[in-house]
Amino acid sequence: MNRSSLATVLAGSTPVIYEVLIVYGPFAASALSTGAFRPQILGHTLMQGFVVDSLLQSLLQGVLSSVAALAMGYPVGIVLGLLSFRGRAAYTSAILLPFMLPSVAVAAGFLLGYPAHSPLQGLSHGLSGIIAVNALFNSPLVALFIAAKLSAGSGEVVQAARTSGASSLEVVRRIIIPSTLGAAGGGAFFAFVYSFLGFVIPLTIGGPSHYTSEVAIYTYQRILFSPATATALAIIQILPIVAISLAIFPGKTRLTPDFRAANSSAPWSASSKRARLCASLFLLAYLVFEDYPLFAVVISALANDGRGFALLFQPATAERLGVSVDRVAINSITFAALASGVTFFLSVGAVHYMLGSARQETSRLYNLALVLPVAVSPVTIGLAIYLALSGFAVFDLVWPTIVFAQCAVALPVSLRFLSNGLEPLPRNLASASALLGAGKLSTLLEVELPSARGALVSSVVIAFAIGIGEFAATSVLYTPAYTTIPLAIYALLGLRLFRAAAALAAMLIFITVGAYFLILRFSD
């Protein structure tokens, strides 16, 4: 390997090195220091009733949520992939919006939109509520997997089947279902992982009988002060996810929505007015389900001349929260901005590597390395950072650990956005620039970064959006002075100050929606 290739590989390695330093390394260090790897501790942990119950809940919620996400998202994906209609791109963006929103804001939306004693209260309480919220989050992801698969060249295949004499039913049975099974499996897998690792939703919607293993890890660490059991449970939880990830995820499946594919023109017009009407009604019902909780939050915050906001900024609220709302907002914005700054730095290295790397196998392995941390839950990341770094003087400061944790949580998704954004760019940009006489730095500054501008912006903005909504890892690391918006929303919901929680959630929704539109703008 020559010096130039070495520099490219090193630049590309920066995100992986970060993940090793912030996720894997601290996790291994904390497991070693607490002895959590030892079979006796693992066995002892597995014997505890709370652990068994929480693991069973995780499994149950994972399976049921992925089934629900598949049941809702699959037909939506087929309709989006095959039908062209005016406003299709806007519709796709609208149903994807909740996927980008912080879980705690959506959970607040369910509590406010489907309150107790209302006919649909099952959607905001107990196991059915958890499944509903998880389906809201994950079904658009499934839909997008399917729509992207169908939009990417399947249009003419469907037409070929029709001109060969196949009826619509036969087209669905023999062409569409077989060709979308892989995408459906990918979507269902991610729905399972996200639901299996649920934290804030079981906390806010489910109640103690529905606590997942994530909640159990948090409880052992922050409430029962038993880091060895918390770490052992994190190991037990992570192993099946990593095993399934390695078996199912070959580096090809998309982790993130592909806005380009979803927004590309649909290949097949509906054949009859009745079909169009049915599809329209179905899409409308789905849109209402997806976006109603967000409207419930905003309406609740603004009702009665903005009473929610008035309540939020009352001194009494700050007193009960233990921190002022201004401080909470400043904390959130600062941490998310710093986390996205770190992401930017790491993304620049990744851009240089991805645009310079010609070998497909290397890129596939690289993508796998970047996406693997998604299997490590945010609570585990927080726990690992807390246990491994809190002894060092510099990390006695709470805020850097929160920033590192938020960045680590956002990084796999950010880098997938980056990699998706770079896909259309020619792979030999760097070679072309070098052949024209440009040095490495000129190539980076004048060719690679400007070409990757849209992808970089998307990557950094998604890091900001995830950081500002991050709940789980931050909840392990924070002290009251470093409370963030999501933690404050959760606290307000616990204090039964629903209107104030709605106001804060509405602020979070507005910020995230702004970020989402920036991503859409730069994904074109």
Partner: protein, 312 residues
């Protein structure tokens, strides 16, 4: 089966794809529709296939308007992207149209083997499309379209991604099958050489409207207007308030004093017949076939054996 398009218009949003198109595809002949990119060729095929409904006008099969969905029209279509079913083997792809018509299994097997043999892919019946070369995939797409014995075959620029030799070989195969089976074929292309080689009946379209149709030889020998002449490979030079059009092989380089058109040689290429020279005059250029290689920069005259004049 005869196919006729009567005053057909079609729009995609605000963009007009076909504007009152009238065209005929005679029974048992190959009709080649030729025109530049964006002229409406593929839209025309999609309307005939039933994949789109015209905004106005009629598509007639044997004189009767058709409104059936594509699966009821008994047509075969080969798409530009080929659109092979990736989840099925070659045999599965070829059998598909027969299976959905509920043809008995033994008959399907026999027909699949027969068509695969005809297309020279009988040794690859168990392969998946992804395991085949471009030419083999093309043959599978053609076999799939032919297997159910369609009354009409639609070809949407199916050879455009192939190398020249393979393209030529497949053109012969299509011609052979069509002549053997007396099949009605509508073939769309932007390549006038391919059009001339294949067509019994040729239709030139531009901006969604028919410019000219007739026998291939008739259209080439007597283009109706300057666009048709230009598209069929004629040179077009300004002359006496109009355009003088001539084919490269129907001009001769001479001494300037012996010809009315005067030009200078810009470049010379080899050609199957000898050489092809690009010459330019005052704000025009033309290609001319010659038996010798003229010097670059030489002043020449153009003597035309045959030409068409179109007034501006």
């Amino acid at each position: 089966m005869e196919v006729r398009l009567q005053n057909v218009s079609m729009k995609y949003g605000h963009i007009s794809a076909l504007n009152g198109l009238n065209m005929l595809a005679p029974d048992g002949k190959i009709t080649v529709v030729v025109g530049p990119s964006g002229s409406g060729k593929s839209t025309l095929l999609r309307l005939v296939a039933g994949l789109e409904e015209p905004l106005s006008g009629k598509v007639l099969f044997d004189g009767k308007p058709v409104h059936e969905p594509p699966e009821k029209r008994n047509i075969g279509m080969v798409f530009q992207s080929l659109a092979l079913f990736p989840n099925m083997t070659v045999a599965g792809n070829i059998a598909f149209g027969l299976q959905v018509r509920k043809v008995p299994r033994a008959e399907i097997e026999e027909r699949v083997k027969e068509v695969a043999k005809l297309m020279g892919i009988d040794s690859r019946l168990d392969s998946k499309p992804g395991e085949l070369s471009g030419g083999q995939q093309q043959r599978v797409a053609l076999a799939r379209a032919l297997a159910p014995n369609p009354r009409l075959l639609l070809l949407d620029e199916p050879f455009s991604s192939l190398d020249a030799r393979l393209r030529d070989s497949l053109r012969w195969e299509v011609k052979h099958i069509q002549q053997q089976q007396k099949l009605t074929v509508i073939h769309v292309t932007h390549d006038h050489v391919e059009a001339l080689g294949l067509a019994d009946h040729l239709a030139v379209i531009n901006d969604g409207a028919l410019e000219q149709e007739g026998t291939a030889r008739g259209v080439v020998d007597n283009p109706a207007n300057e666009f048709v002449a230009w598209f069929m490979g004629y040179n077009s030079v300004p002359y006496n308030g109009g355009r003088l059009c001539f084919l490269p092989q129907e001009a001769e380089l001479t001494e300037p004093a012996l010809a009315e058109l005067h030009a200078e040689v810009d470049a010379v290429q080899n050609s199957p017949a000898g050489f092809r020279a690009r010459v330019s005059g005052d704000s025009w250029w033309a290609d001319v076939e010659t038996g010798f290689s003229p010097a670059i920069g030489a002043k020449v005259g153009l003597k035309l054996k045959r030409s068409k004049f179109f007034k501006n």
